[in-house]
Symmetry: D3
Subunit: 164 residues, 6 copies
């Protein structure tokens, strides 16, 4: 196995932005997910009030995730600013786990993995915030990239993207 | 078991900020963690270059986490703005898992759980960003509150705060 | 009638922040409204889908307004930063006019009129954005302060706060 | 008349960003206005000090409006980030009404209506802020789009763009 | 001479925020200056149009400086957020050098030196931006703290605060 | 000598953004520097701990500078938003002067001089912040553009870019 390479580190080990000036512009997409174990009482309450379909905890989380995706380069130090063409955040249940999925699309010179992860992460934190008065033990039990397409490094997909 | 209550939802189910105008000012603290499964090759490389002790992946992540904590109320819709007295972010290894821990302190009228979670989350995403050229399969396998102190709801501690 | 005075202008006419260092801390509230004439077809469509009660145009607008209130001092050059205790945004219909009302509360040294107006304004702009594909002729036909309480200048109420 | 369509709402009624990835890049412009009824005493004072021509209330408002246009996508949840080519804000009097007019230009995949409206709105709020010590009854009596050009939906002009 | 101490570095040399939770709240002030050598042609032009007294280069710079002071904790990683009571930025000429002076006041637990320096710095950069089409060789030839008062470390004054 | 022209001022002297809609897209670069006279005791301490090579004062400053470059158009009122392709910040010693150098690259319609100057400025302010507990008399003794390339106005280089 070859050594892993760190594009954001200079020869001397300093953090740096990658120079993307010579990269071709192409369509990039990425999907990420956050799985929030809210516990049965909160899951029941959220489901009872229809909160997932059209309710307000999830709707607020979705909006927060979309807005956060647009600010990714302000949060993640070495991220390039990008003009996102599309951001979507959805939510569904797997038992008592609320699964947030984000997808991002852009025509640009760098990928949108960080934007998808930031959207999923802030949406999940918003769910936590909206539910924390009902239980502080909520755990975001995974936050990960599901898939990316486009760019020099090509397409990539997590081994198991829908369940694990 | 009583019904869980959602302080951020109005009677009619709309998202709203809690009115904290009558809450007393007191010292609040919170600690949160994010556990990043980077995989052995990346973990080895990060350890080899001393990157955890004083290196740049972790240092960049720590700084990003501290800066993000200060912007929590801009990211999480119903969070109150707070004047944070202290934010710290540390990192240590558990096998090939890089564990980020944040701690936040404030004298105010609302808790700092969201600030601690935001710091840990953005620090973890920064690690992902700095390492993603070496492997996209990095997973943030948990993001959770470890402990909080202060406020009307009192102190709270996760069952197992150091390992699980 | 005495000359109107402009607290934000120096003797020589330069824009400046008022020094609030000697003002006492007290509870301040403000309410503002924006009236959006959306026209009958859009009003009917919004009402049909129950969009006001729990729907997504208004819910998105409410969240945008609450978030904007927290950023008022970043938008309005001479505004002081404040720690808001509460922000609420509601919506109701008067015929085909969607009326947005914001209310803000803070214990501080300056009033929260600008925060209430900013919340109402950004909520109204968000309604416009969400509906503009259905008709660009939507007009925000008034944006104004309804009431304020607290502070040295005391309480103030618009002549007609509920209809005009 | 056909049903109005809401591009920002999904089939199931959730707020979402429009995917602009397939839209062609073209020149877009938009003009918007805000009319601020400041009342005679304030209007006289602003005019006496030449404040409109080169003065500071209006100059501060113009700058605030220009800066706000650049942040539109951070304020309006479903707005796409854009690289604005030009933003201008002007002011003139119609009796005791201060009329703010913004114009925005961009070569991009979405229109700049929201940027023009945001600029006019924040400029008007800044006038309010700078004058509110002289009278809280100032009313922004209309905030609306005057004209847009470019894009798939073509050009659009308000019925009466200069007076009403 | 004793070793200089770095309050923002931990024992192990990592960057960190100072914990100000136990510091008493007191009035803090700071003044800073930036001296911009614009060269004679630009200085003459700025003076001819009265640009310093009420003109637009300096007025824009003043406003930019005031707004930047409010964002200091977003720019400087280890700075604490503060509720500023007052920010002022003035400008005067020393020959062909435009001298920007900022002053900041706050009742809080940390000093406002960084806020004053940030205000002076961004005001000076704005002057550069407004004048750069007329000459790129403009140099900000000093940026420094002039004075601070309040806090545990007490008052401090630069040796020569008005000329050098 | 011809009159200097101010691209950001309108005929009537009002601050305005330049319309760049007709400018061709081309590669732009800029380099800027900030020279920080920290004094011998602080310089020695920073050097002893290897702080320049891999240490934390400089690393924090570098990251702050890179992040600030991305926010230039939010800080400098008349700056256009840009999609930066690359930002780098380095530091080296000249005696007891810490020299920060920034370089920025972009393919766009306006130059990146302000981005380079903002990066250098905020990096220098961060050094000040990290060291101020050890001595408030630190002076940023120059902040200037070193070089720019690209754009209609062509290439430009300061007379002496490496020492003075």
């Amino acid at each position: 196995m070859t050594e892993p390479s760190f594009a954001h580190l200079s020869e001397s080990g300093q953090a740096c932005m990658v120079d993307v000036g010579d990269k071709p512009r192409s369509v990039r997409t990425a999907r990420a997910e956050a799985r929030i174990a809210v516990g049965k009482p909160i899951a029941d309450r959220l489901r009872d009030t229809g909160a997932i379909g059209k309710g307000n905890v999830v709707e607020t989380a979705r909006i927060a995730g979309i807005m956060a995706a647009k600010r990714t380069s302000n949060l993640i130090p070495m991220c390039h600013p990008l003009l996102l063409d599309h951001v979507a955040v959805t939510a569904d249940w797997e038992g008592d786990v609320l699964r947030i999925e984000s997808s991002v699309r852009c025509a640009g010179v760098t990928g949108v993995e960080m934007e998808a992860l930031t959207a999923a992460s802030v949406a999940a934190l918003t769910v936590y915030d909206m539910c924390k008065s009902a239980g502080k033990g909520i755990v975001i039990e995974s936050l990960r990239l599901l898939e990316k397409t486009g760019g020099k490094s090509g397409d990539w997909k997590a081994y198991s993207t829908e369940s694990h």
